[in-house]
Symmetry: C2
Subunit: 80 residues, 2 copies
């Protein structure tokens, strides 16, 4: 089973990396991009085929290891 985890900064948390990308886009002469926010995208290959167990494990991994829940939020998808 494949898991795809998305980790993004919470709304309201300053994203300097995103601002750097936005400035770089403007420096390229590109208009029409209003906001850029950078997050992490983590692909995990799980051996289990038990979806509820996988969800429990992923939630635990996100809370303890992958995301800093003070400033980040996470979301994941499971694919068989």
């Amino acid at each position: 089973m494949k898991a795809r985890v998305f980790i993004t900064l919470k709304r309201g948390i300053l994203d300097p990396q995103g601002q750097a990308v936005l400035h770089a886009i403007e420096a390229l002469g590109q208009t029409g991009v209003k906001e850029a926010r950078i997050g992490k995208f983590i692909e995990l290959e799980l051996t289990t085929t038990d979806r509820p167990a996988a969800e429990t494990q992923l939630k635990m991994l996100c809370e303890t290891l992958l995301a800093n829940t003070v400033i980040e939020e996470y979301r994941f998808e499971l694919q068989d």
Copy 2:
């Protein structure tokens, strides 16, 4: 229009950050995770409502700025 860009290392390219995460997962005593690969997740807010124009612009931004196409591949989704 919202764009979500996923940038991942190409298959076959070594991912030390993913390996570090995999080791950390094992160090937590968690089994059942076989592989971890880390990528970037970029959310852009576009002012245009013209989908083909947005796709052209995103392709250009990914090729020139957001992804290193030698070692990374990209994928994006557009949401109205």
